[in-house]
Structures are given as structure tokens and as C-alpha cells.
Amino acid sequence: MDDLEKIAKKLEDGSLGLEDAITEFEKGIKLAKFCHQKLEEAERKIEILQKGGDGDVRKRDVKVKPDTGEIDDDEDLQGSLL
């Protein structure tokens, strides 16, 4: 994002030659694309760790009520990893 801001400033400065301006602009587009993609990488999931009978810790997907943040799961969840 910082790089992107630098590119915008460089182009606004107007001191770049046409050739460099194109190169910078191309770089900016690529960076912006990369940043936008990066923001969409996460996959929206809530997981809770639970200890199995063998002592191994596993993750388990749970639903959440988005307005209250409350975990909404049918099964009894362990309150700790003890």
C-alpha cells in the first residue's frame, strides 16, 4: 500500500518521462490488483479447538450469529483445553 501511494505521488509529481510514467502506472495497477486480492484471501470461518479423547487438539467449524457474535453450535463444546 505504501508502494502504491509512492507511485501515485511520483505520477502526480509529473517529473517522470513518458516511458517511466507508463512503467510506474503499470506497476501501480499490478500492485493495486495484488492488494485487492490479498484482502479477499481470508475465507470467513470461525473455528474452535477441541481436545479429542486421544489428547490431540483438533479444530472444528462453528456457526456464529453475526449480530451478537454468539457461537451457535448444537454440540456441547469444551470450555477449555484442560
Binding site: 501515485a8 509529473g14 502506472f25 470461525i46 477449555s80
Partner: protein, 451 residues
């Protein structure tokens, strides 16, 4: 002696100041309230005559074997209290003495209340703090930076408490596709400390892929927050290789976990705000930069077009083909690259279902128009260019000053000239001069000057 016979002691009247009650009380008030002995102090005593007023204020008397003091615990501070004050309870109150002028009385204005017996705990915490401080556990140099853009956040707290709900709610509101991993932990009771330390250690394992950890609980009494003052928990915060935020709700005394964490948030919600950025803001910021870059870039292109127009409208070229040729090559290259970059933008914006939908359209229309005019300008240049002629087999002769040789009158035998061809140039020497037009028509001096 009667009053009549005893003269009034006039001298006394002249020398001594007589106070009004208001003046005197104000003086007492100032003397007491400005005195550090009576400000921000801890007072131990037993509650009696407690009244819960409908305004939310609590009034009581604190007493011991020898004395009593009226106390007021106002609503704005007492609402933070996690237990109910009752008649006969032994407490330690924190506050300052204040004088109530209208009633000629003084009272303790209470800011915080602890149950007696906490003194011991307090001492233990102080000792632990000293020990850990000496070890460098609280050294700011150990503190890691909270990542700018976490993909997965880890939470260590009770799965049923208010804290986890607040964190999830805030995190999802700010960043709807955030990933959350919760390590459940007990946050009160005897085994709370061990369970919290375990949760922190667990979330540090690479397989959970956690970028930042939030560990804490909602506000509570001094005892409720005790697990976050336990050595094993403080050390777990310190040992966390993943950046960790302490998120313990508290009013006055912060727990030791705050000092060992990479960041100390006053509440679980605040911790979520520190850990998780607002996604829309970031998208907007990227768009803002690219829009700025785009605007500057397009004004540069417009500038270029104006120049191009200047060249094509002259209808003759002062400089010969070589320069035109180079410029032409550059322009066609520029054109191709602008087009490919623009296609990128347009696609990018389409994919994103942009929040500024007009921009894509405007940009697209603008681009199409610009591109059309650009091509037209290029075509004009092509037609007018000597290069077009040269491609058909003609050459341009230039002298050693690279001025175009338009007449044999300018030449002498033995002169060095250069022939510019479509794909290069050749150095030549003038062997002979024929004052006759090559295609039969004689050019006389008069005609030549008219050219």
C-alpha cells in the same frame, strides 16, 4: 461586672479577623481537600447504614472501633463494581476526603472498593511484578509489532463469555471474511491460569496459522481478573512467538498480562479493533491511490496528444525521417501498452463490482474515445511522414549538418552527404552534378525558388 460597665475590647476587634461561617467552612474545605494526606487514599472499615439511593448513588458509613466516617459512592464509579455492598461488610475503599459546606460535614468520596483480604493478593502481585521486571519480561524491546493485515486471528478466552462475542462481532463487522480460531479457556476459578496459558501455547503452534492472538476476558472484580496476574499466564504472554494482545476489561488496575503482552487493550472489543482493520477502508484506499495515479497518467497522455496534434498540423517536418521514425516507434509501443494496462483496469474493476460503479464506465468510454483519436493521429502521422514515402523506395539526402538537401545548387563535387532510407542510412560522396531534373523537366532557378 456588667456588660454595661465593662467596655468592649475595641483593640481586639481591630486586630482579630471575624469569619463568616461560609468563609470559615471554605477555609476548612480548602485545607482538607488540598492536603495530600486526604487525597487518593485507601481506607479500611466496616459498612453500616448503607443506602442505595434511587439516583444510583450509594451512601454508607465506614466505621471501626474508634471512629466513623460518612462515605458516598457515586453512580458513575459504582456501576463498575462487580459485587453488591452490604451492611457489615469489611472493605477497603479508595477515595478522597471532601467537605460538604451546607451541612458542615466531611465525607469520603469513594472511587473504588475492594473486599478486605485483597491486601495479601496485592502484595503478591507487587512481588511478582518486581521479579518479572528484573527478568526483563516487561521490556518493551521484546514487544512484537501487531500485523497490519491478519488473515487468521486466534482468541484465548471462555467460549461462552461476553468477551468472545464482542471480539467476533467487532472482527466480523470490520473484516467480514476474517478467519477466527478460538482456543477455549476458563477465565475464572482455580485452574483458569493453567487453561489460559495452555490456550496461548496451543495457538502458537504453526498448524493453526494464526497471525495474531487476542487473550483476555470482560471486566470484573479484582479477584475475577486474578488469573491474568498469575505468573504462568504472564510468562505465556511473554513467550508467545505470535504477536499477542492482552484484552482484559479493567477500570483502574491493569493486570500484569498487559505489561507482558505486545499490545494492551482496555477491553476485548478494543483488542479486536487493534487486531483487525476495516476491509472497506483498505479497498477504498487502494482505489484512491490508483485513481490518483490514473488521473495524473491520463493528463500526461493528453499532454502528449496536444504535442502530437502540433506536429501533424504543421504539414511539413523540419527534422527528417529519423526523428519521426523514432517517435513513431515509441508511440505505437505506448499505444499497445496503454491499451493493455487499461484493459487490466477495466477487468479489475468489473471483477470487484466496484463501489464507484460510474468510474469503470467513465474510464471505459474515455479510454475508447482517447484510443480512437490516438489511432487517428497515428494514421495522420503515418501518411504525412517521410517514412511512408521512403518505404516506397525514396531516399532523403542530408548534408553534414543533417539539413535536407533540396537542390543541387547546394552541392559541390566531393561533398559528403548522407542518404536516409526507410531502414537505415548510407554515407555518400558527390561524384558529379547534373543540373537537370531526373524525370526530364528542367528546373530553372526561378521555379526552384518558388518551391
Amino acid at each position: 461586672m456588667t456588660r454595661e460597665t465593662q467596655p468592649f475590647p475595641m483593640a481586639l476587634l481591630m486586630e482579630e479577623k471575624i469569619y463568616t461561617i461560609t468563609e470559615l467552612t471554605r477555609l476548612i474545605k480548602r485545607n482538607i481537600e488540598d492536603n495530600p494526606d486526604f487525597t487518593s487514599i485507601w481506607v479500611k472499615g466496616e459498612i453500616s447504614n448503607i443506602t442505595y439511593h434511587s439516583s444510583g448513588h450509594i451512601y454508607f458509613t465506614l466505621k471501626d472501633e474508634g471512629a466513623i466516617i460518612s462515605s458516598a459512592f457515586f453512580r458513575n464509579v459504582n456501576k463498575a463494581l462487580s459485587f453488591r455492598l452490604e451492611e457489615g461488610m469489611s472493605i477497603i475503599a479508595f477515595g478522597s476526603i471532601s467537605v460538604f459546606e451546607k451541612r458542615g460535614s466531611y465525607q469520603l468520596i469513594v472511587a473504588q472498593v475492594r473486599l478486605e483480604g485483597i491486601g495479601e493478593l496485592q502484595k503478591r502481585i507487587e512481588q511478582l511484578k518486581k521479579k518479572l521486571l528484573a527478568e526483563g519480561i516487561f521490556d518493551p524491546r521484546h514487544k512484537k509489532k501487531i500485523p497490519f493485515l491478519p488473515k487468521r486471528i486466534g482468541i484465548v478466552t471462555s467460549p461462552t463469555g461476553a468477551a468472545v462475542r464482542d471480539i467476533i462481532k467487532v472482527a466480523m463487522r470490520r473484516y467480514p471474511n476474517i478467519e477466527i480460531v478460538l482456543a477455549p479457556a476458563k477465565v475464572q476459578g482455580d485452574d483458569a491460569a493453567v487453561s489460559i496459558a495452555m490456550g496461548i501455547a496451543e495457538l502458537n503452534r504453526p498448524e493453526w496459522g494464526v497471525d495474531v492472538i487476542i487473550c483476555g476476558r470482560g471486566g470484573g472484580s479484582f479477584e475475577d481478573l486474578m488469573p491474568f496476574n498469575e505468573e504462568i499466564v504472564v510468562r505465556a504472554f511473554y513467550a508467545s512467538r505470535t504477536p499477542i494482545i492482552s484484552a482484559v476489561g479493567h477500570q483502574i488496575d491493569h493486570p500484569l498480562s498487559d505489561d507482558a503482552a505486545d499490545y494492551a487493550a482496555p477491553t476485548p472489543s478494543a483488542a479486536a479493533e487493534i487486531a483487525v482493520p476495516i476491509k472497506k477502508d483498505l479497498h477504498d484506499e487502494i482505489d484512491y491511490y490508483i485513481l490518483r495515479a490514473y488521473n495524473s497518467f491520463m493528463s500526461r497522455i493528453r499532454e502528449l496528444q496536444t504535442k502530437l496534434k502540433g506536429i501533424t498540423s504543421q504539414r511539413s517536418f523540419r527534422s527528417p525521417g529519423e526523428i519521426v521514425y523514432v517517435r513513431e516507434l515509441l508511440l505505437s509501443d505506448v499505444e499497445g501498452r496503454i491499451l493493455s494496462v487499461m484493459k487490466d483496469i477495466v477487468n479489475e474493476r468489473r471483477n470487484r463490482l466496484s463501489m464507484i460503479p460510474d468510474l469503470t464506465r467513465t474510464m471505459f468510454v474515455y479510454l475508447r474515445d482517447k484510443n480512437f483519436r490516438f489511432n487517428r493521429a497515428l494514421n495522420a502521422l503515418e501518411t504525412l511522414s517521410p517514412l511512408g514515402v521512403m518505404k516506397r523506395g525514396y531516399a532523403i539526402a542530408v548534408d553534414r549538418f543533417r539539413a535536407v538537401v533540396k537542390s543541387v545548387a547546394l552541392l559541390e563535387e566531393g561533398d559528403a552527404i548522407e542518404l536516409l532510407l526507410a531502414d537505415g542510412s548510407a554515407g555518400c560522396t558527390v561524384n558529379s552534378i547534373h543540373r537537370e531534373a531526373p524525370f526530364g523537366k528542367k528546373i530553372d532557378t526561378k521555379e526552384q525558388s518558388e518551391l
